[in-house]
């Protein structure tokens, strides 16, 4: 049974016309699951999370936690804990008091509070800081206190709103792994909001992609990467982003960089009757071939060496306009800027086709 369920849940901020920050969200999150809500800034991630927390009204539809409908329930009765982007630590309380505050409000006996706070502090390496005020902590330590405050409660759901966005890059990667490991260990259902698709892909059991308040797709990271449901997801997930252009189509092939790229058999049926399709190919699905072999012509503009491999960025002719393409190649023997490459598909099947106007995926 789902631990958390959004049923056509909508938040419309009153204005003319109302802003549907979250629009008919249908989403089920399983018990113990780590679900990541990802999307660009302003896509409604925080609003969706705050609706679940009870901090934001649900204007249409409903939300349940466990078997209880919590649509109109105040936050304190929802048995959830939340980690805020700003951490929102109580400035006048010590680390220990911050972590024990929720238990204290519930009149938990003092020795129990002390024990639970100590356990959480050990888990998060905060033992020696328990008597400090938040202002005397580093950013990483504050972040851990915010985590600790959530853990101590032993809630049925963790909510996290971009908890890593105030950390520097190195600490972010480290903390990312720690949070994921901690969640597996505790087994608490978790909903994690981020705008960073790398975080989403590395942390989530499943990832829900939001855009403009509308759920685009929810799937396991691999599935999202391999089978994006529409052109938005295709362009958003993956780094560097998928090469995605609307190209002229002849049904069995498309014209790209002066080269006819043959479409997979399944796609041919779907593309029939369209004289244009949105054609997507990931940077690693392309391969440069020697000049005498035929391929998609690309004029190299820039090479980014990443060590093991390199990103070759250049322009490709699409219906007369120069479009930017990225190719991932072996780190050795990369071409220089100004050269021309011929590109072919590594695997004939590894293309993504979307409807030119609706953006929906054309083949399953």
């Amino acid at each position: 049974m789902a631990e958390v369920e959004y049923r056509a849940a909508t938040r419309a901020y009153p204005s003319t016309p109302p802003v549907r920050a979250v629009d008919s969200l249908d989403l089920e999150i399983g018990d113990g699951e780590f679900l990541v809500l990802v999307g660009p800034s302003g896509s409604g991630k925080s609003t969706a999370l705050r609706m679940l927390a009870g901090l934001e009204d649900v204007d249409e539809g409903g939300i349940s936690i466990g078997s209880a409908d919590v649509t109109g329930t105040p936050p304190k009765a929802r048995d959830i804990a939340m980690v805020f982007q700003s951490y929102a630590l109580y400035p006048h309380m010590t680390v220990g008091e911050n972590m024990g505050f929720a238990l204290k409000l519930r009149k938990t006996p003092k020795d129990v509070i002390r024990r639970k706070v100590a356990e959480a502090a050990d888990m998060l390496d905060l033992r020696e800081f328990l008597d400090r005020k938040p202002r005397a902590l580093s950013g990483g330590q504050r972040q851990r206190v915010a985590m600790g405050r959530a853990i101590v409660r032993d809630p049925s759901v963790f909510l996290m709103d971009e908890p890593l966005s105030n950390l520097d890059a190195k600490l972010r990667v480290e903390t990312r792994a720690n949070i994921a490991a901690l969640q597996r260990k505790l087994g608490t259902t978790t909903i994690y909001v981020t705008h960073d698709q790398v975080e989403a892909m590395t942390m989530g059991d499943r990832v829900a992609v939001l855009d403009g308040g509308v759920l685009q797709q929810v799937a396991a990271p691999r599935e999202l990467y391999d089978n994006p449901a529409n052109s938005f997801v295709a362009g958003f997930i993956g780094s560097p982003a998928m090469n995605l252009e609307t190209v002229p189509s002849r049904g069995d092939s498309v014209l790209l960089g002066g080269h006819r790229v043959e479409l997979p058999r399944a796609a041919q049926a779907a593309a029939e009757g369209l004289d244009e399709v949105m054609f997507g190919v990931r940077p690693e699905a392309l391969r440069p071939v020697p000049a005498e072999e035929e391929g998609i012509r690309m004029d190299v503009e820039l090479v980014e060496e990443l060590g093991a491999d390199a990103l070759v960025i250049g322009s490709v002719d699409v219906s007369g306009a120069a479009k930017r393409f990225t190719v991932r190649t072996d780190g050795r023997g990369v071409p220089g800027a100004g050269e021309t490459l011929n590109l072919v598909l590594r695997d004939h099947e590894e293309v993504h086709l979307f409807h030119p106007s609706t953006g929906q995926r054309l083949v399953a």
């Binding site: 939340m82 109580y90 505050f101």
Partner: protein
């Protein structure tokens, strides 16, 4: 860039004059308070002919200074306490909730500051008299009447000051408290108020001082049982003599609570004034 010499001179002289201007009254006050009565009855003398602490002893018996002290303390502490209490709730509501009439209320509160106090003297007196006739509650001349009077002075500013202070406290803190299981009152009490201590300290001092030094309303709204210090100091001038030395010693002693209050709360005050400067 070096300043020209004449500018340094002008500045030096200007600052000296300014310093004298503030120091001389203080000097007169302190020296007069240790002069024997004979020194202060005729022409003014810069130096005491003899030093004595008698004014500090006699001032308590010449007039009922102790009673006035108690009256002032009751009225000022009462006004400050109610001011802070009411302003806390009002400011929290304005800062955190969006309700109908919120902006109108804010503006009304502010606009009361634009009128000189004397405009309210007569209406307030009439209201007190009417209330007294109708209910038997005596407001003129009583502590409670004076407390209410001073509340009307200090509340608007206190509310404004606390609203801006609360606005500088992130709403995330309130929300974290809600999620931790606190209701609105617990959130205000255990999270927002502790975080707003500097602002609350500033408001308390302001409300206290407004009441402590007020003379206009005190001179009309008190009777012989409720006379406050600021009014009571006049009693040192009798038909025959003005006990200037005792006036000065009493004035010094009267300032002590305000100075002490300031010292006790100054670290909050400085924080309060710089609130929001650093995120």
């Amino acid at each position: 860039m070096r300043e020209p010499r004449w500018f340094q001179w002008v500045r030096g002289v200007g600052l000296c004059l300014l310093t004298l201007f503030t120091v001389i009254p203080l000097y007169v006050m302190v020296t007069t308070s240790v002069k024997p009565l004979s020194d202060v009855q005729d022409t003014f003398q810069w130096l005491p002919s003899a030093l004595t602490l008698e004014p500090y002893v006699d001032m308590w018996s010449t007039v009922r200074l102790a009673d006035y002290f108690v009256n002032s303390a009751v009225v000022s502490l009462g006004a400050a306490a109610f001011s802070v209490l009411i302003a806390l709730f009002a400011a929290y509501a304005i800062s955190r909730y969006r309700f109908r009439g919120r902006d109108a209320f804010r503006f009304t509160v502010l606009s009361t500051q634009m009128f000189p106090g004397i405009l309210f003297l007569l209406p307030l007196y009439l209201i007190y008299a009417t209330v007294g006739q109708a209910t038997g509650i005596v407001l003129q001349g009583s502590h409670i009447g004076l407390i209410i009077t001073y509340l009307t002075f200090s509340l608007p500013f206190s509310i404004w000051m606390l609203v801006s202070y609360f606005d500088s406290i992130p709403v995330d803190l309130d929300e974290a408290a809600y999620i931790d299981g606190a209701g609105p009152v617990q959130t205000l009490w255990r999270v927002v108020i502790p975080a707003a201590k500097p602002g609350i300290a500033a408001v308390s001092i302001y409300a206290f001082m407004t009441a402590w030094g007020e003379t206009l309303f005190a001179s009309i709204m008190t009777d012989s049982d409720s006379t406050t210090l600021a009014i009571g100091l006049r009693d040192y001038s009798t038909q025959s003599t003005v006990y200037w030395n005792e006036v000065m010693s009493a004035s010094l002693v009267v300032s002590i609570p305000v100075v002490l209050g300031f010292l006790a709360l100054q670290r909050y005050l400085v924080q309060g004034l710089t609130a929001g400067a650093v995120k």
